[in-house]
Subunit: 309 residues, 4 copies
């Protein structure tokens, strides 16, 4: 790595500005009204390092719907709570299928391919609902702790919208239930799942909250272990093979960092032993990944030589 | 990383001996007679570093059938030959399917998911057949050059056996041909493919031949560029998401290194900026990966802290 | 046809007795406790002709759970209610898949392959729920009318059991809902569906209630049109290609009659322009069809030359 | 049935003329040049009865490529040759998939769903190649005998075209071979298969050659048994559930006759105990069935009350 950090702010601003000038940027998620209304021209990015540096550019303090990025947090909570037993109920293989594939879930007899596709994250929600007396509160509380910021909330409009358009996720949940791989009641599981998808955070909060994954499990903001070193490796491994929907291979190929995206337009990328990048811009490509976010992170990784491969 | 190299030989020997004492080691590949006859008790391992160190233990100089490890070499040759145009004809996504899945190839309309599943490697063979006047000679010549060793050969018994049992691969090839994604005649493509699968190499040759992938594309044995730095990253990325058949996710999760295995019982693992590990033992688990090889590499990666994540 | 009806009772008794002596008869459905408790040694059969003849043998007056046979009744009610518009929402092709396949429903974007697989019957339930103010009462009332028998009821234990084990059907329903192919609320649709599956009838009631399908739509018991001649043809066509689960082709091949079976062990077979056969015995083969029922109907069809082909 | 045969010629001519006036008639098959060149405006129809009546209208004596209709003849020959053993190697279930689906063949482990999809007919070709010293001659000879007409030939241009564009069928054959369900050499099997697809016949020849299926196995032209009564029932059953590609259910639903179509634009329909209808017009709908042919046969079946259901 040649992580030359001089002029980091200038680099980030230049990269973001370059994106602002491009015309083709994809389409904002419109499967629920609450997401379709977001201003497509907003964009921000931030980088937080394990040594305590932070740089944010553009709308990096504008909160947005984290959507599938929430799967990373849920996964860490569930790993902490049930340990290796978790992997009896969910696999850790890339899926080679769309994020919401019910076909693969059927083939695999109700065992999701990994915890960051929808079926896997619903299963994780079941773990949290079953192991916490108040799983939604616990989730928010976990986020506020690791981000070291109390100003993290649920967007109730998004939550209601998700619930009203959640029939496909309900199908996934009931299918897993039919294979005895959901313990709690399906409506409770879905309520947790849609709640965690509906959290809003900004680029700064996301970058800082995930520093423990770049730092062997230890949150450098408060020097507290969030998970073990081994668990941090494992989460990064899963994000590397499966974090960017059905574009995960291409992201590894062209960028080379563990990452997770959400249809709210956010992308987080972990740079082991260095820090976390977060980029946000609502318009998505056909895989559900933010076009600007992908380009920004690819450019930064190229410039700083961040590929882990 | 805490790559403490003192007593490296002792560490390797201890790890290999530990494997020798375990009883359950899987079954030798028996889909072709020539492979089924290999002594299941042979086992060897080697590590070569980009700084010129080399340690081999056990039967590390015993040549074995490299089988799917040949896909790495073919991929590098094709990338060198046709550049980015290659990725119009083969994808770079993990497959989430068995290595010889014809279902996925049909879904994807004849575009293989990645170059290290069978369909992808057959497509790569088509590229080589179409772009070299004598692709089989070119392949062997390439191996001898990068391994810096002339003593690398084709096992003609294995080749004949592969050809006689290659109907499924023929089906994959004709299906791609039906989608106009094979240019040469199918029998010629298959002949090349089975030839490269039938090469025999030993642990030392394999570890040394792939050092360029750990060294930004440059072969440290002779300080010659085999591919660009970017191409080396890309190959490692593909091996990380897809190199260990349908156990690739688990290997990333538990070991954390780009790797490729073959049903001859060999596994190579790339440690970027450090070196290459090769382990060999014929008995395979249900995914087609060498049981001893997996355990050996996992143990070494754990002990030396080699995970890239 | 050589429908020699002399000694019909003797023929039926001989055929049923022949079955009683066979040892291997499959297994009673055990996916819900209420079905698993049925005495596997009960067996009965009946034949009703459009000319008013009726013969019953064995336990032909013992009521049993009609299960999927209810799909025939629901289909006729829905055809009567919405006419050809029904076929915008459900296809009429054989499925080539298990009766509860969620994979095919996904491929076909929420349009069930035909109305007698589970997804199709759930869709029909949605039609009935949406078009009747009290669809469950209407269903029972329809049965009592066409069977000319008030003694037809719902088994509430079976209903509760179905509801408690209905997660897979819930998955099918929510998946269709996600494709906007379910209009009512899913729990209401499932309640109707499980209700109609939980009806109990005996061989006599089933044979007589379906006479209209053998008689160009007209119920000969009371000379009332239940559906048009064309609709009767259509229902028989669907039963011929799809009525016996994934053994429909074999049933057409070896018996040659439109038929529908249920996991309660009942089978009804329509003999156009002649009558209806009903056979019942709880133990099922691996396809979900009553072993004794299949053998009995095959034997009778052979003896009387009933094949429509 | 109300088979009023008075004015049969007038009925046929009226029905064909009605089709001639319709504008939207689909597209001529263009996957091989030899078929794409056929005049789309040709159309003919014929009806032959088991009592010896025959009526032909339009271009009923114009020979065309029988394509998949050849599967009926091959099936009968193979049934005659190997008896019930045939059904160990090919199933008899409708497929619910396109005629050339390789996915289903993989699922079913090399056992084709039925003998009238491509994989099934290739398997039948293997039976013929393996059981006749000169299977292609035997095939033509069989056709000439049952049609009672020596003027039946192979179109060698079509044959060469099929062979040159047959990669998908080669994939199906090699996949079956990999499951040990092809005995002969694949190129020999394909040569037979493409030969039988390349036969040309006219409406009269087709209608007359298949009369045995409407007549309990006996060819009324020469009063010779072509197959047993049971075998005739079985073939008709297979044609009823699977003869019209992925429109078989709809054809049963709306017409109600065992039938087989080919992409040359021909359709034959069997009317048990009555006769055979053949209609021909090259333009096809999206399922591969002749638009005019479907409409013509549907109209005639409606008018004469021919549905078997």
């Amino acid at each position: 790595m040649n992580k030359d950090l001089s002029n980091l702010r200038e680099k980030l601003q230049a990269l973001l500005l370059a994106q602002r000038d491009k015309s083709a940027r994809g389409n904002v998620a419109d499967y629920i009204p609450a997401l379709a209304e977001v201003d497509p021209n907003l964009m921000g990015a931030a980088i937080a390092t394990i040594d305590g540096d932070f740089v944010g550019v553009g709308d990096y303090q504008h909160a947005f719907s984290i959507q599938s990025i929430s799967k990373v947090f849920g996964l860490v909570m569930a790993m902490n709570r049930v340990g290796d037993a978790l992997w009896q109920r969910v696999n850790m293989e890339p899926s080679g299928q769309p994020f919401n594939s019910i076909i693969q879930l059927e083939w695999e007899k109700g065992i999701p391919r990994n915890p960051v596709i929808n079926a896997g994250a619903i299963l994780i929600s079941d773990v949290l609902v079953s192991h916490y007396s108040a799983s939604k509160l616990a989730f928010i509380s976990f986020l506020r702790t690791i981000a070291n910021d109390e100003d993290i909330h649920i967007d109730h409009d998004v939550f209601q919208s998700e619930l009203a358009h959640g029939n496909r996720n309900a199908a996934l949940a009931y299918l897993m239930k039919s294979f005895n791989n959901i313990e709690a009641e399906v409506p409770d599981v879905l309520e947790h799942y849609f709640t965690q998808c509906s959290v809003t955070m900004n680029c700064q909060q996301l970058a800082q909250s995930l520093l423990f994954l770049a730092n062997k499990g230890v949150n450098p903001l408060n020097n507290t272990a969030v998970c073990t070193r081994k668990e941090a490796h494992r989460v990064n491994a899963i994000l590397s093979t499966s974090g960017m929907y059905d574009q995960s291979g291409e992201f590894a190929f062209s960028v080379g960092l563990p990452a997770k995206s959400g249809v709210g337009g956010g992308i987080v990328a972990i740079v082991p032993n260095f820090g976390v990048i977060c980029a946000w811009s609502p318009p998505l490509n056909s895989f559900g990944n933010s076009v600007v976010g992908m380009n920004f992170i690819a450019g930064l990784a190229e410039e700083l030589g961040l590929s882990i491969y």
